[in-house]
């Protein structure tokens, strides 16, 4: 009697059997922005240390941040911060027991996405406006 074919069982957490949707996307993005912001903490401290160091060290740090690559990273951190802030508040509402309905989850999710993009634009328009 032939033995039944052995099928490879899926291993936890079965990520590849789920349909990609807004809930899991924003959850993953929350963790990714958190990691990005963790990398921003040394940069923030470097900036403060350069400020304490005096005129020259501050100028060197400012030059680094104002370079094309520096600006891209700073804009990325701005978005990461605003997204993590808004989505974090969304999580706090869930922790308090509110907003679990399907329509509420989707609406708050899209609010976070649009809100963080719009606020990032606002911040950088304001910065360019001040700088000019």
């Amino acid at each position: 009697m032939p033995s039944p074919p052995v099928r490879a069982r899926p291993t936890s957490p079965h990520l590849d059997i789920y349909r990609w949707q807004i809930g899991n996307t924003l959850s993953i993005l929350h963790r990714l922005t958190g990691i990005a912001l963790a990398m921003g903490l040394p940069a923030l401290c470097y900036w403060l240390v350069s400020l304490a160091g005096g005129d020259e060290s501050y100028a060197a740090a400012a030059k680094l941040f104002a370079s094309p690559a520096g600006l891209v990273v700073l804009i990325g951190w701005t978005f990461a911060f605003l997204y993590h802030l808004l989505n974090g508040v969304r999580h706090l509402f869930w922790d308090a027991g509110y907003g679990f309905e399907r329509t509420q989850r989707h609406a708050s999710g899209w609010f976070v996405v649009v809100g963080s993009i719009v606020l990032t634009l606002c911040v950088w328009v304001l910065i360019r406006h001040t700088a000019s």
Binding site: R31, G34, I35, L37, A38, L41, P42, L44, C45, L48, V49, L51, A52, D55, Y58, A59, A62, F81, L85, G88, V89, L92, D95, V123, L126, I127, T130, A131
Partner: protein, 126 residues
């Protein structure tokens, strides 16, 4: 019949041993960071410029220095809690996990210490 010991039932912590403290600390620090980070962002945006003199004058005010130190400490704590979970989730070899968690903890203390010390230097004007 439960096989749990009476002490285990009273402590109610399961195999992780630390209950909900990590989860709760993450939320409390998150709430504290809402005003602190927004204060920092708005203050920088409201400055007439980001040149050396302007930023230094602003940060040497006692209120700015105080809030900036609080920001750095709570930010470090919140970030440390978050990245610790990331390492615990994705690093599965015990030795590597321990090593990374130690490097992470030392790095946070180093970075936060340097930041706080810098702010104090600015406030004290030396």
């Amino acid at each position: 019949m439960s096989l749990r010991t009476p002490l285990g039932r009273v402590l109610g912590m399961g195999s992780a041993k630390d209950g909900t403290e990590h989860w709760w600390a993450q939320r409390v620090s998150a709430v504290a960071l809402i005003p602190l980070t927004l204060w920092f962002l708005f203050s920088l945006l409201m400055l007439p410029g980001l040149d050396y003199e302007t930023v230094k004058t602003w940060l040497s005010l006692p209120t700015s220095g105080f809030l900036c130190v609080l920001l750095l400490v709570v930010l470090t704590y919140h970030s440390y809690l978050g990245t610790t979970v990331v390492i615990e989730d994705y690093v599965h070899t015990a030795g590597m996990k321990l090593l990374l968690l130690l490097v992470l903890r030392f790095s946070y203390v180093l970075v936060c210490g340097a930041g706080v010390f810098a702010v104090l230097r600015i406030v004290m004007g030396r």
